[in-house]
Amino acid sequence: MHNVALSLIELGAVFFGLGLLGRLAWKIGISPIPLYLVGGLAFGHGGVLPLNGIEGFTEISAELGVVLLLLLLGLEYSAAELVTGLRRSWSAGLIDLVLNALPGAVVALMLGWGPIGALVMAGVTYISSSGIVAKVLGDLGRLGNRETPVVLSVLVFEDLAMAVYLPILTALLAGVSFVGGLTTVGIALVTVTVVLVVALRFGRFVSALVDSPEPEVFLLRVLGAALLVAGVSSQLQVSAAVGAFLLGIAISGSTAENATRLLEPLRDLFAAVFFVVFGLNTDPKAIPPVLGVAIALALVTTATKMLTGWFAAKLQGIARLGRLRAGAALVARGEFSIVIAGLAVASGAVDQGLAPLATAYVLLMAVFGPVAARVVEPMARWAWSLRQRRLAGAES
């Protein structure tokens, strides 16, 4: 009995502490993700206050967090939006992929982490945080801006890329051979295509399967379906996260909206646990040695996302200021970088330094992303006025 009491106290303290951190984060206008990570670092391995006795709960909660993160990502976009988004933004999406995956891969290779480490770090630096980006765009009142659809369609492309990337990564982390890897790639591509077609044509049947007028029945069905699909796809080595993501895409219309509303609080809870667990499993003492690399990587990938946004917006005929805004909006990295790093760390197939590097990198980018989105316009205006003044001064 004593153990249960202690576990409850520990869990309560963790959740309450996260609540305080979250409040603080929204107050100063940043995403709570970095604070959750810091919270996790403070406890656990090598932290100031190790937690014991709740590992069983936190471990499965973290898994649930990943499944819910990806399920809600899938629910966010309908299959039709994904297809039109892909058609509209594939060129910008490819620029995004090349520019932002390369820095991560190069750094991993330079650190001698091998091709798998490179693939992991490529994913970590590539994917923007759609959660942070959407929140920042809404907060800054930029949803009516012309460059916003450009930003959103780049995010759509990234999400589709994730659906292909995650199964490949999972297979490689599990140590399958080259031929096996190719088979997985094939299976992944076929599955994604089949799910998109099914969602486009028969989305309402999938929706009808989980839909129910009673909220609690609906919640149980959606969550049950998500865990079943996640578990089965994990068994087939297609990654639990991708299964949940594809289920999210297949559920459409008002069912998707209701599911989002019901599941959002659950996702926030379990995702918070996931970030904390990731922080818990990272030794804070391992961060200072990789901090320099993380800062360099942050600087480079801020520049590459700015370039991505610039080109993507330019393709749609957006003026210079809008191109800068689009670039800065994309800078934030967050939940999905940690999801990728988490998969890699859990498999044990990558270097020990990867978790601290990914943590430090996401800490920097999740804090800096929203700040960049906010300051880019005033800074650009200031720079232009300065240049104009200098030109005027040169003439007189």
Binding site: E76, Y77, E81, L82, T84, G85, S130, A134, G138, G141, R142, L143, G144, N145, R146, E147, T148, P149, L152, S153, L155, V156, E257, R261, I318, A319, L321, G322, R325, E377
Partner: protein
């Protein structure tokens, strides 16, 4: 008028158009039924100077404020092309004969041949009122008929 409809994946849609003065005006409609009224900046047409959240109720108020005069103009333009038919606004004065009575009570159609196509009340248009539509003082009737019929109708509504 060309209204541009742009999907915002994961959020909703943006519908806007360019005014003659070069500003972009429109709405962002969210999937959950919320709306933002958006107005573009003058110096940077890509960005918005305002993005104002509006409830469905506020949206319909704004729509009727903009739409009521529009309806009369529209009718006048339409009937200007048909010779011998004109459009007019006839008020129901507070305390007058038909204040508090129904459209059927006025017997406008039988007596004057004039049709009431809409009733404007508090900046809201009530189009195609039925015979049991009850007038209130201050209502403005939008009527269509011959000039002769309209003057008879005006007389009938004024009298008493």
């Amino acid at each position: 008028m060309h209204v541009e409809v742009t999907p915002l994946p994961g959020i909703g849609t943006r519908q806007d158009f360019q005014t003659r003065s070069g500003r972009r005006i429109g709405i962002v409609s969210y999937r959950d039924g919320r709306y933002d009224l958006i107005v573009s900046k003058t110096d940077d047409p890509d960005a918005c100077v305002a993005s104002i959240p509006l409830s469905p109720e506020e949206i319909s108020t704004l729509a009727s404020l903009l739409g009521a005069p529009q309806l009369v103009n529209h009718l006048e333009r339409q009937h200007a092309e048909v010779s011998g038919i004109s459009t007019a606004h006839l008020p129901i004065a507070p305390g007058s004969r038909f204040d508090g009575r129904t459209l059927g009570d006025t017997e406008l159609r039988t007596r004057t041949g004039v049709s009431v196509v809409a009733v404007m009340r508090a900046a809201t248009a009530h189009p195609s009122p039925t015979p049991d539509f009850r007038f209130a003082g201050g209502d403005l009737l939008v009527v269509v008929g011959t000039p002769d019929g309209i003057s008879k109708a005006a007389e009938r509504l004024d009298r008493g």
